[in-house]
């Protein structure tokens, strides 16, 4: 089928910096911990969503990346656009699983936290994005060894060809302790300068 799709915008959060379409938006301190970096990034980027501070690290990472991108694209909750979310990573929700696991291993002080437990699934971060932007659309979260542009390309192209989604917010959000990367991109049918091809996705990762 020849329904051409394009990468409308893309966003990176890595090495303590947030960038949109290759342009740096915010840069934190070099040696900063992730938790401090993401908090100051949130403040600098005018995110204004108090629930952010209740999220786990994976959700903070995914949420902030998506928020920057969707705001730039002027996605408004009132419109309830049909934007599917197709995310992937290799650590699943390990970062939070570990935190929660520690809370149930300590026999002396056995107080598992409900607020931590709810984040012990990778797809919760997509729920957070859906809540903020009122996206009632399809979600999938895949676990891969490495970033897999072929797979994401095939899956999101399929969703658009079958008219299951108008647009697809796609990418990789991974965090394990201080090691993290977010790369999200929005696939649309709107004619643009970047074709939605495996090569273009890969060169931007």
């Amino acid at each position: 089928m020849n329904s051409k799709t394009f990468i409308k915008s893309y966003c990176h959060i890595k090495n303590n910096a947030v960038s949109l379409n290759g342009t740096l938006l915010y840069h934190g301190e070099k040696e900063e911990f992730f938790s401090d970096f993401i908090k100051s990034a949130y403040k600098n980027l005018d995110t204004n969503y108090a629930k952010f501070f209740k999220m786990d690290n994976l959700s903070k990472l995914a949420f902030l990346g998506a928020d920057v991108l969707l705001k730039h694209e002027n996605v408004q909750p009132e419109k309830q656009e049909n934007i599917a979310l197709v995310f992937s990573n290799n650590a699943s929700s390990l970062d939070t699983d570990r935190k929660y696991q520690e809370s149930i291993e300590d026999k002396e002080s056995f107080y598992p936290s409900p607020a931590v437990f709810v984040y012990t699934l990778p797809n919760i971060c997509m729920g957070e994005i859906s809540i903020k932007h009122k996206l009632y659309s399809e979600n999938s979260f895949f676990i891969f060894e490495d970033f897999n542009p072929e797979y994401l390309h095939a899956y999101s192209s399929g969703l658009m060809e079958e008219n299951k989604a108008e647009k697809v917010l796609c990418g990789w959000v991974n965090i394990d302790k201080e090691d993290y990367t977010a790369f999200l991109y929005l696939v649309t049918k709107e004619e643009g300068s970047i074709s939605h091809t495996i090569k273009e996705i890969n060169s931007r990762f």
Binding site: A50, F53, K54, S109, Y111, P114, A115, V118
Partner: protein, 85 residues
Amino acid sequence: MVALKDELKNKIIEQLNLEDVSVDEIADNDPLFGEGLGLDSIDALELIVMLDKDYGIKLSDPKEGKKIFESIETMATYITENSPK
């Protein structure tokens, strides 16, 4: 009782990750859920854990929490009356 209320305010801010909220901004009778501090059902469960961990009070039915967690005032009263510590 005043000390307990301050303690509760600090704990709520700290444990429920209420960024940008200070102790002075929470009045004793402010509603904690909905309009007030905007806490949600997961926060309610965290408060139930807090009652158990810090004050030795076990709730078995989350519905009981509704009345207890109405405000700092109601929480402090409940803890004073029920804590074995």
